[in-house]
């Protein structure tokens, strides 16, 4: 045996960090500092995926103050759970969700 992987252990779900600033600032600040920035990584606060009449997905903050269009369709579990935190890439007009934390644990961006 050259290498043996031990059985994986359930490490639990470590607490995700809380976003440090309001969403609009988190999206605008990197662009103001470096105007040539194409993509802004962002950690979003509590929110949920909502759908418009054509089936396009939007991320909406829990307080309803911010609604951002989501890239792709946000399938599966992403649509059916409160997202306590969401890690995403903001391209200036679409939010590409990388992962989210929910009561089901971490959810991948593909649902």
């Amino acid at each position: 045996v050259l290498f043996q992987r031990e059985a994986a252990v359930d490490a639990g779900s470590p607490e995700w960090p809380a976003p440090e600033e309001v969403i609009t600032q988190a999206l605008a600040k990197p662009l103001l500092a470096e105007p040539w920035t194409l993509e802004v990584p962002v950690l979003l606060p509590a929110g949920r995926i909502a759908l418009d009449d054509t089936g396009h997905a939007w991320w909406r903050s829990a307080d309803g103050a911010t609604t951002l269009p989501v890239a792709g369709t946000a399938e599966g579990l992403l649509r059916g759970a409160d997202l306590a935190r969401t890690a995403a890439i903001w391209s200036g007009n679409r939010l590409a969700i990388l992962a989210a934390q929910s009561r089901w644990g971490r959810i991948g961006g593909d649902g």
């Binding site: 105007p35 009449d53 939007w58 579990l77 089901w104 644990g105």
Partner: protein, 472 residues
């Protein structure tokens, strides 16, 4: 300020579209753009890009809707440490039937998959009943009729429409198990208003606790229902109650493909001979008749009781006829006749055992397991066949001690074994072995040269690592 800038952007972009200079339209940035026209256009491009990126996002349309939470199921999801194995197996098993077997195996062990790894598709009726809340959630997600809520309490005529389809079916199944007459009465009242597909699905629940009390209702469906498939199901259920409805002419025509004679000098017994069809058309006609005629009526046309027909049938002489007869028994035979046919088939060769597998869904779980044990003792029974007979039971303690196990180890140990060999057989082994059986099998197969990380062993590894929370 931002609104004024945004309003000006419309004019700027319109000018660029037609190839005109836009700087004169951006008066709010006059000082930043400068006096040199070419430089002003470049500065305007940079400023407007940053403005649009920083200060403008799409306005959400009115009427955004959020879906309800995906409901938790009655069973816990598999431990986090094993989810990667479940995901790998789900990814590798494209076939719906194989995926259903994994779900069935997990449910029997007291687990469900994580909704991040799998969610049912609409009308995915192959999933175990424990997933009914997710099926209804998917219905909600794809429906605009979001106002309908899941009803609580016992299913009744009054709250029938308050249920989503999967939840209603489970409620009806529970009612049928508890009170067969009440469930039938509910179907009598509500079935006619459902689609043909739903009628077929719900009528199938009458298989549970089927009794003579169901006969008038089934006969009314055979007479009045509009869908041929629903009529056929009702007719087959009547057949199981010994009330076959097959047309006498069809049964007589089918019987003409066979002859009954007496054999033996001392212990005289009846035997059936084949009047072999001479043309492909005759063969097709015989197959069609097998699919439409009831076993009791067919046996009667031969002058035999159904039990005598099974005893007199020359098994293995005509495989096509064997398969067709088994299908006829599975479709229309009484429970006792199905058991008799299954016991007869359990001593067959590999091909005959496939007939047993098609009868297995009609048998009680313990009977299926008993016949699987009998079949596995024979050399012709593979783990795949055993799985088809027993289902994804996860109960076999020493699978590799069976002839199928010895054959598997020998094949995998041979010098010309390939990495793609025996995938289906190893998957079946992983589904029928008990946890201890899976652990022992892994040790033996590792000893035979298979790597621990071999993806063919994923199902066995999942089985070996998964606690048994109690069979369902």
């Amino acid at each position: 300020m931002a609104e004024a800038n945004f309003d000006a952007m419309g004019e700027v972009l319109a000018r660029w579209v037609i190839g005109a200079a836009a700087a004169p339209a951006a008066s709010m940035w006059n000082s930043e753009l400068g006096d040199e026209p070419g430089e002003a256009e470049l500065r305007l491009l940079a400023l407007s890009s940053q403005f649009l990126g920083v200060a403008v996002t799409a306005d959400p349309p009115a009427g955004l809707r959020t879906l309800p939470d995906i409901p938790p199921l009655a069973l816990p999801t598999v431990p986090e440490a094993l989810r990667h194995l479940v995901r790998r197996i789900l990814t590798a098993t494209k076939e719906k039937r194989l995926r259903s077997e994994l779900l069935e195996f997990l449910a029997r062990r007291g687990w469900t998959v994580h909704p991040g790894d799998w969610l049912p598709a609409t009308s995915d009726e192959s999933a175990p009943d424990v997933y009914a809340p997710w099926l209804d959630w998917v219905d909600v997600a794809t429906s605009t009729d979001a106002a309908r809520k899941k009803a609580g309490g016992e299913l009744t005529v009054e709250n029938w429409d308050d249920y989503w389809p999967a939840g209603r079916k489970v409620a009806l199944l529970e009612l049928r198990q508890r009170d067969p007459d009440a469930a039938r009465s509910l179907l009598e009242a509500k079935l006619v208003g459902e689609s043909a597909e739903t009628r077929l699905s719900l009528l199938g629940l009458l298989k549970i606790g089927l009794s003579d009390a169901d006969i008038p209702f089934l006969e009314s469906i055979v007479t009045n229902d509009r869908a041929p498939k629903v009529k056929a199901l009702a007719a087959s259920l009547l057949g199981r109650l010994g009330r076959g409805l097959g047309a006498g002419e069809d049964a007589a025509e089918l019987a003409s493909f066979f002859s009954v004679y007496t054999k033996g000098l001392v212990r005289r017994s009846r035997a059936i001979g084949f009047e072999h069809p001479k043309t492909a058309t005759q063969l097709q006609r015989r197959a069609a008749l097998f699919e439409s005629v009831d076993i009791t009526v067919f046996a009667g046309a031969l002058g035999l009781a159904p039990e005598e027909l099974i005893a007199a049938w020359p098994w293995d002489a005509d495989r096509l006829a064997d398969t067709a007869l088994i299908a006829m028994i599975a479709r229309t035979g009484t429970d006792s006749l199905v058991t008799l046919a299954a016991e007869t088939m359990s001593h067959s060769d590999a091909e005959g055992l496939r007939g047993l597998a098609s009868l297995a869904p009609r048998l009680a779980p313990e009977k299926r397991w008993q016949l699987t044990g009998t079949a596995l003792g024979a050399h012709g029974c593979s783990f795949e066949t055993a799985k088809a007979i027993a289902g994804a039971t996860g109960r076999l303690d020493s699978p590799l001690d069976a002839p199928a196990g010895a054959n598997l180890v020998e094949t995998l140990s041979s010098d010309d074994a390939k990495p793609s060999d025996q995938i289906a057989e190893l998957y079946a082994l992983g589904l029928i072995a008990s946890r201890a059986g899976a652990q022992h099998s892994l040790e033996r197969l590792n000893g035979a040269g298979l790597l621990q990380g071999d993806p063919r062993l994923d199902m066995l590894r999942l089985n070996a690592a998964l606690d048994d929370n109690g069979a369902r």
